[in-house]
Symmetry: C2
Subunit: 189 residues, 2 copies
């Protein structure tokens, strides 16, 4: 997606060889026009995959997920980090280690929102080491649903996430694929 | 907003006299079609208020905020709960006490995204005791910006938030106003 690559080039901040900050249009400030185009692009790609529901993880996955959900006309479930007293007790959980934030946390989905008839599109802002994808795969499997594919805004192709998706047989559709982060340049695939 | 009230009546779960759970269409599972209509309604109401930016708090405010942002054609900034290493050091913060979750947390916005030219629309899923509104008011003021109004999906009119907004001179536009929660009935204003 050319417009997204242009945004990444112009507004992305390279923190180090593995970390790219896109706080100005996705991870802290959100550009809703761009997110709507991203959602449309995911919907167009997965329109014949019989998606019944989108699953994402709070918070940065929510914006691309809700626009994809609107264009595919399916509900969006966002996994909660940690548990909340507002959730009921019948839950599916999995641990995620965040390399970016250097800590481990739990993601939780109430089982009533996923079942054996669900064909899930997982949407997330980044695919890096694949920890979120592995956690959502475990949760979806625990709920007897299946994952039809993953829509990723920015893939860091040099990290382990792509290989994890391949092992699990999950089709990944990434709108921007980063091959390498240099000190002052981003190399796309 | 009649459709929203219908959703609340049909899908809302009354936990107790002060707590209403709407996990099936807003706080865990999101109905993107409803959220788009909610965003349109906020945009229509505030279209002549010269809004430059929307501010919300992760996570449940993001969905209504991004649709309002799309329809008003302005960026959305979501305050982060806690700090992340991805944020820079020039930040504005405020403490929030959550009566729902019974704990205190910090909300943070990077100052680069709000300045003295900004006229903010605050959007949130609930207005209850007004703790989030007070925190965002403090942050926006610290950044020398101002709040033009608040767009609230569900107002619990029997709690203190409305009075806090009035004290601060903030216009609140709530799409559903709950006067009282009974054991098996929701009374709207």
């Amino acid at each position: 997606m050319e417009k997204l690559k242009q945004y990444i080039n112009e507004k992305g901040i390279i923190i180090n060889a593995s970390l790219l900050k896109v706080d100005s249009f996705m991870n802290h400030q959100i550009d809703p026009v761009l997110m709507d185009e991203i959602g449309k692009e995911f919907a167009e790609h997965f329109k014949n995959h019989n998606i019944t529901k989108i699953v994402t993880i709070e918070s940065s996955g929510i914006a691309p997920a809700v626009f994809a959900g609107l264009h595919l006309n399916v509900p969006v479930v966002f996994a909660r980090k940690g548990t909340s007293i507002i959730l009921n007790n019948d839950i599916a959980q999995s641990a995620v280690y965040s390399y970016t934030k250097e800590h481990k946390y739990t993601v939780t989905i109430a089982k009533e929102y996923l079942n054996e008839n669900d064909n899930i599109l997982f949407i997330d802002d980044f695919l890096a080491n694949g920890q979120s994808l592995l956690a959502i795969h475990k949760i979806v499997t625990d709920c007897n649903a299946k994952i039809a594919g993953a829509g990723i805004v920015i893939e860091k192709s040099f990290q382990a996430g792509v290989a994890h998706a391949e092992e699990l047989g999950i089709e990944v559709y990434s709108l921007a694929k980063i091959k390498k982060l240099y000190a002052n340049k981003i190399e796309f695939e």
